[in-house]
């Protein structure tokens, strides 16, 4: 509705940490001067492994409309297999950005009129010394590179704050390595 609001929809699986990833980005956005930040998980009964959604709205001003995102500017996908199960581009604005954790190249995807970015975060995460399957910090690096919305250093600090006592440096490093290895398509 409001052009001053950047709307980002996060697709993950229950238990994968999409909500935590969106919360970290929300914190980093707030620190970067976006006074209006609203993050709303799908309102439902989530199950581990099932596809889940999280809405993140970012604005310089306070956000009053808390309703779910229907026409996102960006979509972030934590597991490339979700693309086969869910229409992740649903409602995405023309020219919108899709960031996918995927071993494939952006050109391997055919999202008409959209910009695609990919990074093989599942591999990168284990390089960073994280347990297998931890991808929600790596995806933040891919998001940072592809969206150019929030500074990677600010995001890395937000990751370290969120993961106090749970490998903060390794998680931040996963984001930085992913940032350097994200392929942004045309």
């Amino acid at each position: 509705m409001n052009k001053d609001i950047i709307e980002i929809r996060w697709h993950g699986r229950g238990g994968q940490g999409a909500i935590t990833a969106a919360k970290i980005v929300a914190n980093a956005a707030f620190v970067s001067g976006y006074g209006g930040v609203v993050m709303a998980p799908t309102f439902g009964t989530e199950r581990r492994g099932a596809p889940v959604l999280t809405s993140l709205k970012i604005s310089k001003q306070k956000i009053y409309d808390l309703s779910p995102i229907t026409e996102p500017d960006m979509v972030v996908v934590l597991d490339h297999l979700i693309v086969k199960e869910v229409d992740v581009a649903s409602g995405l604005k023309p020219g919108g950005l899709i960031v996918i954790n995927s071993p494939k190249h952006p050109d391997d995807y055919n999202f008409e009129g959209m910009k695609v970015a990919t990074a093989d975060i599942t591999s990168i995460a284990s390089e960073s010394g994280l347990p297998p399957g931890v991808v929600n910090t790596g995806i933040i690096g891919a998001f940072a590179k592809a969206s150019d919305l929030i500074d990677i250093d600010t995001l890395a600090r937000a990751i370290e704050n969120e993961f106090k006592g749970k490998h903060p440096q390794r998680n931040a490093e996963a984001a930085r390595i992913t940032f350097d290895n994200t392929i942004v398509g045309g």
Partner: protein
Amino acid sequence: MHIIESGNVAAANGVKLAKVQVIAAYPITPQTPLTEKLSEFVDAGEMDAQYIPVESEHSALSVCIAASSTGSRVFTATSANGLLYMNEQLHWAAGARLPIVMCVVNRGIGAPWTVWNDHQDAVSQRDTGWIQIYCCDHQQIIDTVLKAFYLAETVNVPVMVCYDGYILSHTYMPFEIPAQADVDKFLPPFKPDYALNPGQPANLNTVTLPDIRPDVRGNMAPGYMEIRHNLHTDMRDAIAVVADIDKKFAEVFGRNGNPYIEEYKCDDAEFVAICMGSLSYHLRDVVDILRKEGIPVGVMGLRLYRPFPDQAVRDALSARKGIIVFEKALSYGNQGALYADIKSALYCAENKPAVHNYILGLGGREIKTDHLVECLRNSCKQPKTIGDTPQWIGLKL
């Protein structure tokens, strides 16, 4: 300090800052993360409180009633059918004049089951003698919890702090956590007029005869009807107390100032939308859209629902052309409960605006901005009262 967290965590932080001494609660969606957070605070030693897990909501409030009777500051929280299961004890807590504070994380009630948001739970408990305050965002949640203890302990009436399930409880947004030193400056420790004490055993709230009679000390004691009358007049007097406390809060924290109604673009508004909870903030965007079309409309969020601030409502609404009441609750077979209250408040006004009633969002039915725009625009174009039957938004028959 600002943090980005959920509405439930905002409420839990308010309870912690209020230095609550006893918490008894039973988990129910979407309230659960609030009580989980409180049990974490207690377990980590961040709160010097007794957390009493119970087997039901009826027991939760019973424990709160007992603890409050001994002079402790107590808190509980629930939603939907959990609130209904407390119903008997709700009346008891109010009748016993215990200053309990409870968060009601608003959810539709079963049957059929729903876990999603509407206001039927709290609105259906309107006449239990509890004060009810509705919140629009996380800052209001944490601030209102603090003010609620002050209010409850000043007027000896329990307070429900109501906020929308999921829409606020599970949504993350920035809010400021007040400093403990400032909270201590604002909220004095609870000093009860009377507290149960094993050294001085007493019976409380025993059978009261229809007429007044001397008590055990030979003093004339009020009968049941006097006790009810006093609850009512103290509730009416609480309207002014709410404003006093809001002013005191603003002096310490530098925010608030709208104890009864929060207005947006209402100064020159010929039409006013009014509702409770987060929807009033959503309607701000709707008002902005209609203002661009040249429609002189504003929106008011009603914060205090019981006691009903009828004079403030009359002052705010009587000079308008049309009032549009949006409600997430319904008095079945009649109309929206808030609509009836607002029409009643306007009955003795000199200028009576047209009043429209919309029911929406029941059981979490999505509230779309374009639907709100269309309905509000239509109502502004037909400023006539069109009967008391409410219209429904988003209904798919």
